[in-house]
Protein backbone atom coordinates (compact mmCIF):
# COMPACT_ATOMS: atom_id res chain seq x y z
CA UNK A 1 0.00 0.00 0.00
CA UNK A 2 3.08 2.21 -0.32
CA UNK A 3 1.56 3.81 -3.42
CA UNK A 4 -1.62 4.92 -1.63
CA UNK A 5 0.22 6.64 1.20
CA UNK A 6 2.67 8.28 -1.18
CA UNK A 7 -0.17 9.50 -3.35
CA UNK A 8 -1.95 10.86 -0.25
CA UNK A 9 1.27 12.62 0.82
CA UNK A 10 1.64 14.09 -2.66
CA UNK A 11 -1.91 15.49 -2.57
CA UNK A 12 -1.66 16.81 0.99
CA UNK A 13 1.63 18.51 0.14
CA UNK A 14 0.14 19.92 -3.06
CA UNK A 15 -1.76 23.16 -3.67
CA UNK A 16 -5.03 21.70 -2.30
CA UNK A 17 -3.48 20.12 0.80
CA UNK A 18 -4.31 22.83 3.30
CA UNK A 19 -7.83 23.29 2.00
CA UNK A 20 -8.40 19.51 2.33
CA UNK A 21 -7.13 19.62 5.90
CA UNK A 22 -9.35 22.56 6.85
CA UNK A 23 -12.41 20.90 5.31
CA UNK A 24 -11.65 17.65 7.12
CA UNK A 25 -11.24 19.49 10.40
CA UNK A 26 -14.49 21.37 9.86
CA UNK A 27 -16.25 18.11 9.06
CA UNK A 28 -14.90 16.49 12.25
CA UNK A 29 -16.27 19.35 14.35
CA UNK A 30 -19.65 19.19 12.65
CA UNK A 31 -19.87 15.40 13.08
CA UNK A 32 -18.97 15.72 16.75
CA UNK A 33 -21.65 18.36 17.18
CA UNK A 34 -24.13 16.09 15.40
CA UNK A 35 -23.44 13.31 17.92
CA UNK A 36 -23.44 15.86 20.70
CA UNK A 37 -26.98 16.84 19.76
CA UNK A 38 -27.97 13.23 20.36
CA UNK A 39 -25.99 12.47 23.49
CA UNK A 40 -25.54 15.81 25.26
CA UNK A 41 -21.82 14.99 25.41
CA UNK A 42 -18.58 16.10 23.87
CA UNK A 43 -16.17 13.41 22.75
CA UNK A 44 -15.27 11.04 25.60
CA UNK A 45 -11.82 10.11 26.93
CA UNK A 46 -10.35 13.54 26.31
CA UNK A 47 -10.57 13.12 22.55
CA UNK A 48 -11.30 16.09 20.33
CA UNK A 49 -12.60 16.42 16.77
CA UNK A 50 -9.28 17.98 15.79
CA UNK A 51 -7.39 15.09 17.39
CA UNK A 52 -9.46 12.56 15.48
CA UNK A 53 -8.91 14.39 12.17
CA UNK A 54 -5.17 14.51 12.91
CA UNK A 55 -5.05 10.77 13.71
CA UNK A 56 -6.77 9.98 10.43
CA UNK A 57 -4.29 12.05 8.39
CA UNK A 58 -1.31 10.47 10.18
CA UNK A 59 -2.65 6.96 9.70
CA UNK A 60 -3.27 7.56 5.99
CA UNK A 61 0.25 8.99 5.58
CA UNK A 62 1.78 6.07 7.49
CA UNK A 63 -0.27 3.50 5.58
CA UNK A 64 -2.11 2.32 8.73
CA UNK A 65 -5.41 3.37 7.11
CA UNK A 66 -5.74 2.67 3.43
CA UNK A 67 -7.15 5.08 0.91
CA UNK A 68 -8.37 3.06 -2.07
CA UNK A 69 -8.41 5.60 -4.88
CA UNK A 70 -10.20 3.19 -7.21
CA UNK A 71 -13.17 3.04 -4.83
CA UNK A 72 -13.13 6.66 -3.62
CA UNK A 73 -11.24 9.00 -5.96
CA UNK A 74 -11.49 11.94 -3.54
CA UNK A 75 -8.95 11.78 -0.71
CA UNK A 76 -11.04 14.26 1.27
CA UNK A 77 -14.17 12.11 1.00
CA UNK A 78 -12.21 8.99 1.95
CA UNK A 79 -10.82 10.71 5.05
CA UNK A 80 -14.24 12.14 5.91
CA UNK A 81 -15.53 8.54 5.97
CA UNK A 82 -12.72 7.57 8.37
CA UNK A 83 -13.42 10.56 10.63
CA UNK A 84 -17.12 9.74 10.63
CA UNK A 85 -16.38 6.15 11.57
CA UNK A 86 -13.94 7.09 14.36
CA UNK A 87 -16.27 9.69 15.87
CA UNK A 88 -19.14 7.19 15.66
CA UNK A 89 -17.05 4.60 17.50
CA UNK A 90 -15.98 7.09 20.17
CA UNK A 91 -19.58 8.02 20.92
CA UNK A 92 -20.68 4.40 20.54
CA UNK A 93 -18.20 3.28 23.19
CA UNK A 94 -19.41 6.05 25.45
CA UNK A 95 -23.05 5.06 25.02
CA UNK A 96 -22.28 1.39 25.64
CA UNK A 97 -20.28 2.19 28.76
CA UNK A 98 -23.18 4.22 30.12
CA UNK A 99 -25.86 1.54 29.73
CA UNK A 100 -26.74 0.30 33.20
CA UNK A 101 -26.44 -3.44 33.78
CA UNK A 102 -29.67 -5.35 33.35
CA UNK A 103 -31.43 -6.34 36.57
CA UNK A 104 -30.63 -10.00 37.14
CA UNK A 105 -33.99 -11.12 38.54
CA UNK A 106 -37.58 -10.75 37.39
CA UNK A 107 -40.20 -9.11 39.69
CA UNK A 108 -41.41 -12.57 40.79
CA UNK A 109 -37.89 -13.44 41.95
CA UNK A 110 -37.05 -15.77 39.07
CA UNK A 111 -33.64 -15.43 37.53
CA UNK A 112 -33.61 -13.43 34.32
CA UNK A 113 -32.12 -15.36 31.39
CA UNK A 114 -31.66 -14.69 27.70
CA UNK A 115 -35.02 -16.37 27.15
CA UNK A 116 -36.69 -13.49 29.01
CA UNK A 117 -36.06 -11.29 25.97
CA UNK A 118 -37.24 -11.65 22.43
CA UNK A 119 -34.27 -12.25 20.17
CA UNK A 120 -33.92 -8.85 18.49
CA UNK A 121 -35.69 -6.65 21.03
CA UNK A 122 -33.69 -3.91 22.71
CA UNK A 123 -33.46 -4.26 26.46
CA UNK A 124 -35.19 -1.71 28.74
CA UNK A 125 -32.00 0.29 29.22
CA UNK A 126 -31.47 0.51 25.47
CA UNK A 127 -35.06 1.64 24.98
CA UNK A 128 -34.59 4.35 27.62
CA UNK A 129 -31.35 5.51 25.98
CA UNK A 130 -32.92 5.57 22.52
CA UNK A 131 -35.87 7.61 23.79
CA UNK A 132 -33.52 10.06 25.44
CA UNK A 133 -31.46 10.42 22.28
CA UNK A 134 -34.56 10.93 20.15
CA UNK A 135 -35.84 13.59 22.54
CA UNK A 136 -32.54 15.49 22.29
CA UNK A 137 -32.41 15.16 18.49
CA UNK A 138 -35.97 16.46 18.15
CA UNK A 139 -35.11 19.39 20.39
CA UNK A 140 -32.09 20.22 18.18
CA UNK A 141 -34.25 20.04 15.09
CA UNK A 142 -36.90 22.27 16.70
CA UNK A 143 -34.30 24.87 17.65
CA UNK A 144 -33.10 25.00 14.05
CA UNK A 145 -36.65 25.16 12.72
CA UNK A 146 -37.44 28.11 15.01
CA UNK A 147 -34.49 29.99 13.49
CA UNK A 148 -35.60 29.49 9.88
CA UNK A 149 -39.31 30.10 10.37
CA UNK A 150 -40.67 33.08 8.44
CA UNK A 151 -37.84 32.95 5.86
CA UNK A 152 -39.42 31.23 2.84
CA UNK A 153 -36.19 30.24 1.05
CA UNK A 154 -34.62 28.93 4.25
CA UNK A 155 -37.80 27.03 5.03
CA UNK A 156 -37.72 25.34 1.64
CA UNK A 157 -34.06 24.32 2.10
CA UNK A 158 -34.95 23.08 5.58
CA UNK A 159 -37.69 20.87 4.14
CA UNK A 160 -35.43 19.62 1.34
CA UNK A 161 -32.91 18.45 3.95
CA UNK A 162 -35.36 15.70 4.91
CA UNK A 163 -34.69 14.30 1.45
CA UNK A 164 -31.10 15.06 0.59
CA UNK A 165 -27.77 16.52 1.70
CA UNK A 166 -26.56 17.27 -1.82
CA UNK A 167 -26.49 20.93 -2.89
CA UNK A 168 -27.40 20.20 -6.51
CA UNK A 169 -30.32 18.04 -5.44
CA UNK A 170 -31.50 20.64 -2.94
CA UNK A 171 -31.33 23.30 -5.66
CA UNK A 172 -33.47 21.04 -7.83
CA UNK A 173 -35.98 20.29 -5.04
CA UNK A 174 -36.33 23.95 -4.06
CA UNK A 175 -36.10 25.51 -7.53
CA UNK A 176 -33.39 27.81 -6.18
CA UNK A 177 -30.21 28.67 -8.11
CA UNK A 178 -27.24 26.71 -6.81
CA UNK A 179 -25.44 29.92 -5.81
CA UNK A 180 -28.43 30.85 -3.67
CA UNK A 181 -28.34 27.40 -2.03
CA UNK A 182 -24.66 27.99 -1.20
CA UNK A 183 -25.51 31.35 0.31
CA UNK A 184 -28.37 29.92 2.38
CA UNK A 185 -26.03 27.17 3.52
CA UNK A 186 -23.70 29.79 4.98
CA UNK A 187 -26.60 31.26 6.93
CA UNK A 188 -27.72 27.83 8.11
CA UNK A 189 -24.16 27.08 9.19
CA UNK A 190 -24.13 30.18 11.38
CA UNK A 191 -27.46 29.12 12.91
CA UNK A 192 -26.26 25.55 13.54
CA UNK A 193 -23.00 26.71 15.12
CA UNK A 194 -25.00 28.57 17.77
CA UNK A 195 -27.00 25.46 18.64
CA UNK A 196 -24.50 23.69 20.84
CA UNK A 197 -25.14 20.28 22.42
CA UNK A 198 -25.25 21.95 25.85
CA UNK A 199 -27.93 24.36 24.65
CA UNK A 200 -29.96 21.48 23.22
CA UNK A 201 -29.74 19.55 26.50
CA UNK A 202 -30.76 22.64 28.48
CA UNK A 203 -33.72 23.27 26.20
CA UNK A 204 -34.77 19.61 26.40
CA UNK A 205 -34.75 19.77 30.21
CA UNK A 206 -36.86 22.95 30.13
CA UNK A 207 -39.37 21.37 27.80
CA UNK A 208 -39.64 18.32 30.03
CA UNK A 209 -40.59 20.52 32.98
CA UNK A 210 -43.44 22.14 31.01
Amino acid sequence: MAEAKERAAQILRGPDGERIWLELLDYAHKRARRYGWRTDKSLPQGRSPGGIAKDVVIKVLEGDRTWDETKEPSLLNAMKGMVRSDIGHAFGEYETSNVEPIVQSLPDGQERTADSFAAMDPNPEQIFLQNEQTRLEMTALDLIREQVEGKPEMESVFLALYESSDCQEIARLTDLPIERVYSLRRELDRIASRITPARVAREARERRKQ
Partner: protein, 150 residues
Protein backbone atom coordinates in the same frame (compact mmCIF):
# COMPACT_ATOMS: atom_id res chain seq x y z
CA UNK B 1 -42.64 1.06 12.17
CA UNK B 2 -45.00 3.13 14.33
CA UNK B 3 -45.47 6.92 14.03
CA UNK B 4 -42.99 7.72 16.84
CA UNK B 5 -40.31 5.50 15.31
CA UNK B 6 -40.90 7.09 11.92
CA UNK B 7 -40.55 10.58 13.33
CA UNK B 8 -37.36 9.59 15.21
CA UNK B 9 -35.90 8.10 12.06
CA UNK B 10 -36.78 11.20 9.99
CA UNK B 11 -35.24 13.47 12.62
CA UNK B 12 -32.00 11.49 12.64
CA UNK B 13 -31.87 11.52 8.85
CA UNK B 14 -32.50 15.28 8.78
CA UNK B 15 -29.62 15.95 11.20
CA UNK B 16 -27.28 13.66 9.24
CA UNK B 17 -28.22 15.39 5.99
CA UNK B 18 -27.81 18.81 7.57
CA UNK B 19 -24.31 17.91 8.82
CA UNK B 20 -23.21 16.62 5.40
CA UNK B 21 -24.82 19.59 3.64
CA UNK B 22 -23.04 22.14 5.87
CA UNK B 23 -19.68 20.44 5.27
CA UNK B 24 -20.34 19.69 1.61
CA UNK B 25 -18.72 20.68 -1.63
CA UNK B 26 -18.64 24.13 -3.22
CA UNK B 27 -17.20 26.09 -0.28
CA UNK B 28 -14.17 28.29 -0.73
CA UNK B 29 -11.37 28.43 1.83
CA UNK B 30 -12.66 31.65 3.38
CA UNK B 31 -16.02 30.04 4.06
CA UNK B 32 -14.40 27.01 5.69
CA UNK B 33 -12.19 29.28 7.80
CA UNK B 34 -15.25 31.26 8.90
CA UNK B 35 -17.10 28.09 9.80
CA UNK B 36 -14.17 26.82 11.88
CA UNK B 37 -13.90 30.11 13.74
CA UNK B 38 -17.65 30.06 14.46
CA UNK B 39 -17.10 26.64 16.08
CA UNK B 40 -14.32 28.02 18.28
CA UNK B 41 -11.42 26.58 16.28
CA UNK B 42 -8.24 28.58 15.61
CA UNK B 43 -7.54 27.73 11.94
CA UNK B 44 -4.05 29.26 11.94
CA UNK B 45 -2.99 27.06 14.86
CA UNK B 46 -4.49 23.99 13.22
CA UNK B 47 -2.67 24.77 9.95
CA UNK B 48 0.61 24.91 11.85
CA UNK B 49 -0.20 21.49 13.32
CA UNK B 50 -1.01 20.16 9.86
CA UNK B 51 2.35 21.35 8.52
CA UNK B 52 4.07 19.62 11.44
CA UNK B 53 2.19 16.39 10.62
CA UNK B 54 3.41 16.60 7.03
CA UNK B 55 6.95 17.32 8.10
CA UNK B 56 6.98 14.36 10.50
CA UNK B 57 4.95 11.78 8.60
CA UNK B 58 5.39 12.74 4.96
CA UNK B 59 8.84 14.28 4.93
CA UNK B 60 10.50 15.34 1.73
CA UNK B 61 14.07 14.07 1.28
CA UNK B 62 15.26 17.59 2.07
CA UNK B 63 13.45 17.58 5.44
CA UNK B 64 14.69 14.06 6.21
CA UNK B 65 18.26 15.05 5.40
CA UNK B 66 18.01 18.24 7.47
CA UNK B 67 16.65 16.29 10.44
CA UNK B 68 19.32 13.57 10.12
CA UNK B 69 22.00 16.22 9.79
CA UNK B 70 20.92 18.09 12.91
CA UNK B 71 20.75 14.82 14.91
CA UNK B 72 24.19 13.78 13.75
CA UNK B 73 25.65 17.22 14.37
CA UNK B 74 24.27 17.17 17.89
CA UNK B 75 25.72 13.74 18.50
CA UNK B 76 29.09 14.82 17.07
CA UNK B 77 29.07 17.94 19.22
CA UNK B 78 28.46 15.93 22.35
CA UNK B 79 31.16 13.42 21.28
CA UNK B 80 33.70 16.18 20.71
CA UNK B 81 32.99 17.66 24.09
CA UNK B 82 33.67 14.31 25.73
CA UNK B 83 36.90 13.28 23.90
CA UNK B 84 39.75 15.38 22.61
CA UNK B 85 41.68 13.34 20.03
CA UNK B 86 45.37 13.69 19.27
CA UNK B 87 46.40 14.78 15.74
CA UNK B 88 47.54 11.28 14.79
CA UNK B 89 44.24 9.81 16.04
CA UNK B 90 42.30 12.33 13.94
CA UNK B 91 44.40 11.45 10.86
CA UNK B 92 43.83 7.74 11.45
CA UNK B 93 40.10 8.28 11.78
CA UNK B 94 39.99 10.35 8.57
CA UNK B 95 41.71 7.53 6.68
CA UNK B 96 39.33 4.99 8.18
CA UNK B 97 36.21 7.03 7.28
CA UNK B 98 37.41 7.74 3.74
CA UNK B 99 38.15 4.06 3.15
CA UNK B 100 34.78 2.96 4.48
CA UNK B 101 33.02 5.55 2.30
CA UNK B 102 34.89 4.33 -0.76
CA UNK B 103 33.91 0.77 0.08
CA UNK B 104 30.28 1.97 0.11
CA UNK B 105 30.82 3.23 -3.43
CA UNK B 106 30.82 6.95 -2.62
CA UNK B 107 33.07 9.38 -4.45
CA UNK B 108 34.90 11.18 -1.63
CA UNK B 109 35.09 14.84 -2.56
CA UNK B 110 37.27 15.60 0.43
CA UNK B 111 39.96 13.30 -0.98
CA UNK B 112 42.09 16.09 -2.42
CA UNK B 113 42.12 17.94 0.88
CA UNK B 114 42.82 14.67 2.70
CA UNK B 115 45.97 14.10 0.60
CA UNK B 116 47.27 17.50 1.69
CA UNK B 117 46.26 17.20 5.32
CA UNK B 118 49.86 16.96 6.47
CA UNK B 119 50.03 20.74 6.14
CA UNK B 120 46.59 21.41 7.69
CA UNK B 121 45.99 22.86 11.14
CA UNK B 122 44.58 20.61 13.92
CA UNK B 123 41.23 22.48 13.86
CA UNK B 124 40.91 21.98 10.09
CA UNK B 125 41.56 18.28 10.43
CA UNK B 126 38.95 17.93 13.18
CA UNK B 127 36.49 19.80 11.03
CA UNK B 128 37.29 17.58 8.04
CA UNK B 129 36.76 14.47 10.19
CA UNK B 130 33.36 15.77 11.33
CA UNK B 131 32.26 16.48 7.76
CA UNK B 132 33.38 13.05 6.59
CA UNK B 133 31.65 11.32 9.51
CA UNK B 134 28.50 13.24 8.71
CA UNK B 135 28.65 12.29 5.03
CA UNK B 136 29.25 8.65 5.91
CA UNK B 137 26.31 8.61 8.36
CA UNK B 138 24.01 10.11 5.70
CA UNK B 139 25.30 7.61 3.16
CA UNK B 140 24.63 4.69 5.49
CA UNK B 141 21.17 6.03 6.31
CA UNK B 142 20.43 6.49 2.60
CA UNK B 143 21.54 2.96 1.78
CA UNK B 144 19.62 1.55 4.78
CA UNK B 145 16.48 3.40 3.59
CA UNK B 146 16.92 2.14 0.03
CA UNK B 147 17.17 -1.45 1.31
CA UNK B 148 14.04 -1.02 3.46
CA UNK B 149 12.07 0.53 0.57
CA UNK B 150 13.23 -2.22 -1.75
Amino acid sequence: MNAADKKASETAKFLDNLTSFLAGEGRDVEEVLGSLRAQGVNPEQSLREFREILSEHASTWREKAARARSLIEASLRSGREKVRLSRSEVEAQIREVVESMRSLGAPVEAGAFYRKFQGARDEDLESLLEDLQLQRALLLKQQGGAKTDG
